[in-house]
Subunit: 100 residues, 2 copies
Amino acid sequence: MAENVKQFKPLDPLLHSELRLAVMSILVGVEDADFVYIKAQTGSTSGNLSVQIDKLSSAGYIEVEKTFKGKKPCTICRITEKGRDAFAEYVDTLKQYLAM
Amino acid sequence: MAENVKQFKPLDPLLHSELRLAVMSILVGVEDADFVYIKAQTGSTSGNLSVQIDKLSSAGYIEVEKTFKGKKPCTICRITEKGRDAFAEYVDTLKQYLAM
DNA sequence: ATAAACCAGTTTATTTTATAGACCAAATTA
DNA sequence: TAATTTGGTCTATAAAATAAACTGGTTTAT
């Protein structure tokens, strides 16, 4: 008989980060959002946000489009299907940890 | 009129850790649990588990009692009221991030 | 027109954290 | 009694988060 072990599935390390999770949480609920908006909503520094957006983008969880709003640069982020799936999976896995 | 920002409350960094969260998740549901059991349930290495138990203990989230089971050492962990509160608070805060 | 301040980010350096591997003492097994 | 296992701890390394410094350009003030 198999032991009753290993009940905790690993949490996607890309999402198990406060700031990246907050970014994904925002993006999952909107069509898209720009850098400035995300920065304000999360209260993060630009440096940190820039790095974390890069990571999410490299993983294919979000798409980043660099445009201009007037004369100012404007970085627009949009969640991808892959990102949406990963987020859903993360939430599902996490429930195991929260005794929900 | 105040801006609609800063909607993300910070996540308790002590709990926002895969292994420590798993440990707390186990302890929140039982009277107590020993090192060996927690190790099996989480699939962690002893080294990692030892360190994380120390951190939870130092924070006052769990109590650690060193006893013997027969002749073998046995480290028993028990969640504290403070730990229970912190866990509940963490879960509550996290919901904000999960769009739940 | 020029300088100072500001905006929207990126790059880099530092600090913190997680994790595994080496290690240890005692007990068990060969 | 020597080797192995058990139940851990300690420590070195790898990875991560974060902030500080910087860039390229714009707006504002002088």
